[in-house]
């Protein structure tokens, strides 16, 4: 991965109080690529994404986005940077008091002086891009989970961001929506010439679309490589994760003490 970098993470450490969440993370995200960050729930994936978005400050190390250390920016600088980013939240985070149209138009109205006719055309194009032209007058409560995710995707790409971040984009979707959202993530990345970071634990769907994968466990990178590298990995944790095995480095049983003793059985 030797092309120009859009995001660079160096020796990133982060702790809540004394509890270490991220430990010495080094990652590179070249421009135009679609990269996945995978790992179990609670392993620090979303925390990592929040660092890239400038929501959290690392306790050590840095995160550079488009050549600037994001956590050193003041609020104005941070907001300027965020206008070039898009983030798709786990369940879409659509504004429930607005129609689909107003949701997609939200950033255009907040950040540009475009006339309403142009905004109308742009919103329709974004909705068409995610296959939901015709839903503009519906409210989020009237959409299915998959449709809501696609509307959120249209809102995320409203201002053609250079960096798109996806937080668990496949969570809770039916198989058809899963494929549709996966395909859209790949297509939009290529069409917009953007860089995408997908945080997910859905291995099968994401391996179909990504260029590169980082595997995180307990806040540290334990494996990385292309989709094929990950599929053929000999690393025990990765194998268990990719093939969904019940037991392995991640044990089936919670470390809950001596079960036999609890039942009064003498061994």
């Amino acid at each position: 991965m030797s092309t120009e970098l859009l995001v660079e993470i160096s020796n990133l450490n982060f702790a809540y109080d004394s509890r270490a969440i991220l430990k010495g993370i080094n990652m590179s995200f070249p421009k135009g690529k679609l990269i996945a960050i995978m790992g179990l729930s609670g392993c620090g994936k979303t925390t990592l994404l929040r660092h890239i978005g400038g929501v959290l400050k690392p306790t050590k190390g840095y995160v550079k986005v488009d050549g600037q250390i994001i956590h050193d920016l003041d609020q104005e600088g941070l907001y300027k940077m965020r206008r070039k980013m898009g983030m798709l939240f786990q369940f879409g985070a659509l504004f429930t008091d607005m129609t689909v149209f107003d949701n997609v138009a939200f950033q255009m109205r907040e950040h540009t002086d475009l006339p309403e006719e142009i905004i109308h055309d742009l919103v329709m194009m974004k909705l068409h891009a995610v296959g939901l032209y015709g839903t503009q007058d519906l409210f989020p409560a009237e959409l299915s989970g998959g449709m809501a995710r696609r509307v959120a995707l249209a809102r995320t790409i409203a201002l053609d961001p250079m960096l798109i971040m996806y937080d668990e984009p496949f969570a809770g979707l039916d198989p058809i929506s899963l494929t549709v959202v996966g395909e859209l993530i790949r297509r939009l990345n290529d069409a917009l010439g953007a860089t995408s970071i997908v945080v997910t634990h859905d291995v099968q769907e994401s391996l179909k679309i990504v260029d590169y994968v980082y595997f995180i466990s307990n806040g540290a990178i334990i494996a990385e490589g292309s989709a094929d590298d990950i599929r053929n990995s000999r690393e025990a944790f990765v194998r268990q994760f990719v093939h969904g095995e019940m037991d392995g480095p991640i044990p089936f049983h919670y470390p809950g003490g001596n079960f036999s003793k609890d039942l009064g059985v003498r061994v």
Partner: protein
């Protein structure tokens, strides 16, 4: 050990309470600082005035009417003992304009609009709408909180005035129409007793102060609510309890300043 532990518990509660007061003050100052958008795009504030003010009209009108009717009935029974039934108009108007109008309208506003504001913002936080806004480089304090704050501050005195007006009408219906107090003396006593600056304006000042207190508490509780169902439910309850206590406490302080000798 038990003593140390209980002392530690008290200390922790005090520190938490002080921390929350500091956080709420900072939140209030931030709301004022980022209020520009609420006036530059006034339709955002107008929309919130509709939700918090206009939607509270029914409860304010009905409650104001009944409170005035009760005042008319009780006031007449008491004044009759001293042969001063003609003073019913001034009793009803002064009670409403000075005290009951601002206080009861604020209590109703806290229960109806304040709790709704807390629940709405709390749920926006729980469903990541606030985070999404921040990630879209839109300041949620400026876009979500400040318009609601100004809507509350603008709506509150208007609702209190309406409450008082409906109360006076309720008092008139019971006192004059049903009981038969002389209509001329009812209105003339009222006109003579109520001073615009001393009574009406002080009532308006009270309702503005209550409006600020109720909306700040409601918005802060929503914004600070843990992003869970229990968190939002607890925050909504706290809004009603804290707002009600704040209204009654502030009312005593303001009354002491305004009407104390």
């Amino acid at each position: 050990m038990a003593l140390v532990s209980s002392l530690r518990g008290i200390g922790s509660r005090v520190v938490n309470a002080v921390w929350r007061i500091g956080y709420a003050t900072r939140f209030f100052l931030m709301t004022l600082y980022y209020s520009g958008l609420s006036f530059r795009r006034f339709r955002l504030t107008v929309r919130e005035i509709f939700f918090s003010g206009v939607m509270s009209l029914i409860i304010i009108i009905v409650a104001g009417m009944f409170v005035g009717m009760v005042l008319g009935l009780q006031g007449y029974e008491t004044l009759k003992r001293y042969g001063s039934e003609s003073a019913l108009g001034s009793l009803v108007a002064l009670s409403l304009v000075r005290e009951l109008g601002p206080v009861l309208a604020a209590l109703l506003f806290a229960s109806r609009a304040g709790s709704a504001m807390t629940a709405e913002i709390g749920l926006m936080k729980a469903t990541e709408q606030i985070s999404a806004m921040e990630m879209m480089a839109v300041n949620p304090i400026a876009r979500v909180v400040a318009p609601r704050f100004w809507a509350g501050v603008i709506s509150m005195p208007l609702l209190a005035a309406l409450f008082s007006a409906m109360g006076v009408f309720g008092g008139y219906v019971v006192g004059v129409v049903l009981i038969g107090v002389d209509e001329g003396s009812f209105w003339s006593q009222m006109q003579g007793a109520v001073d615009f600056r001393h009574d009406v304006m002080n009532g308006v000042i009270k309702s503005v102060v209550f409006g600020v207190a109720v909306t700040v508490i409601s918005l802060f509780e929503g914004y600070d609510a843990p992003p869970t169902a229990e968190g939002v439910s607890g925050a909504t309850t706290r809004t009603v309890v804290e707002s009600s206590l704040a209204i009654l406490m502030l009312d005593f302080m303001l009354t002491a300043f305004m009407f104390g000798e």
